[in-house]
Subunit: 197 residues, 2 copies
DNA sequence: TCGTGTAGCTTAACAGTGTTAAGTTACACG
DNA sequence: CGTGTAACTTAACACTGTTAAGCTACACGA
């Protein structure tokens, strides 16, 4: 195992950077460990000194990406606008973030799991992002802009809605969608109208 | 190339049956052509006499599955209840169908595409299912239960919503969701309240 | 009945994959 | 100077999707 020196951490990060770039450009399945290693001038086996396997490497990259989403959402949660407006901005940011990082987003929501033990929910960054959504919903319930007091149910309903449009736009690029921002706004309008009804 | 005799078609179907069963049980990525061939007592190369490659085999299986969904949706569209109720039943059927065929569903919406040319939208069965949704929406607009007259926008908004909850329930099995039917009903209630607002 | 075409399947191989056991190198430190 | 060990590599294993070439058995016309 490689030691946790500063130098070792830099190799580690360079592996993640190279892999991330290749995953985005060519897709996870089309990127081999040999190709990643070659890009940074190492041998494929070196990667295994820093990551358990290819899936672990991918997971850590996605964690890093989603940590950025959480930071963006936390920043939005501090804006001084109404709770309902903050909620809407957060939902919009989630969607936009997914569209800006389509490969990372698709990978996280692409049950690579297949068979075997059901994939554990990545408690780290995915849950952190969801927590900001829940807080936003709770704030709207507290100030009366959302009457239904079931925070968890409302939050998950909203998540389903924004994940749906994000996921469709990413994975079904051949479908003749209406103009993208119009569809996104329609989803947001519908969800918010629905839960504030 | 194998001829289109009755016998050849039966081999073809037996390949699809074996592959489908294995894909569902072990996941697309964990099933090799050799494993499929062995299950039906043939050599892997035989599969290539009937299907272009592994992706083609998967595509044809999914087409077959989604054709069943379309049949179910068409049946619902003929029920003698109000258009809005028919719409809701259709949305619910879509979600339930996805949950009943989680692997097929996940595969279709899992941009295996990666890089290369953007995946063509499978005009065949996927579009047929969406068409029944659009018809249902149009019927609601015609009888006044939906006021917004933008059929395409409303249909796609609804699709995003139901795809979202279906996809989350399938791919994020480790997440502590609220009770499944409660979440599904909440999504349906929210969407319908939102578009009839 | 014999020869031939061909439908349907197989053999053998290629080029690639993720992964690992064992080995090498070079440097820090007593 | 000698030794330990961190960091990396060599070589291989068992597997993958895929294909070119070959075999076999049967249908059919002469």
């Amino acid at each position: 195992m490689a030691a946790a020196t500063v130098q070792a951490e830099s190799v580690r990060q360079s592996i993640m950077d190279a892999a991330s770039e290749l995953f985005v450009a060519e897709g996870y399945g089309n990127v081999s460990m040999r190709k990643i290693a070659q890009k940074i001038g190492y041998t494929p086996t070196t990667i295994y000194l820093y990551f358990e396997d290819k899936a672990d490497l991918l997971n850590q990259i996605c964690d890093q990406t989603f940590a950025q989403l959480t930071r963006n959402l936390v920043a939005i949660s501090k804006l001084s606008v109404s709770p309902l407006e903050r909620l809407r901005l957060g939902l919009r940011e989630y969607i936009q973030f997914g569209l800006n990082h389509p490969n990372h987003y698709a990978i996280v929501f692409s049950s690579i799991s297949a068979a075997g033990p059901p994939v554990e929910f990545e408690t780290s960054e995915g849950e952190a992002a969801f927590n900001t959504l829940r807080d936003s919903v709770a704030a709207c319930q507290a100030d009366g802009s959302i009457k239904d007091q079931n925070t968890e149910l409302i939050s998950q309903t909203l998540w389903a809605g924004i994940h749906g449009v994000t996921s469709l736009l990413i994975t079904q690029q051949g479908f003749p969608f209406v103009e993208q921002t119009a569809l996104i706004d329609s989803v947001l309008d519908t969800l918010i109208a629905g839960i504030t009804a």
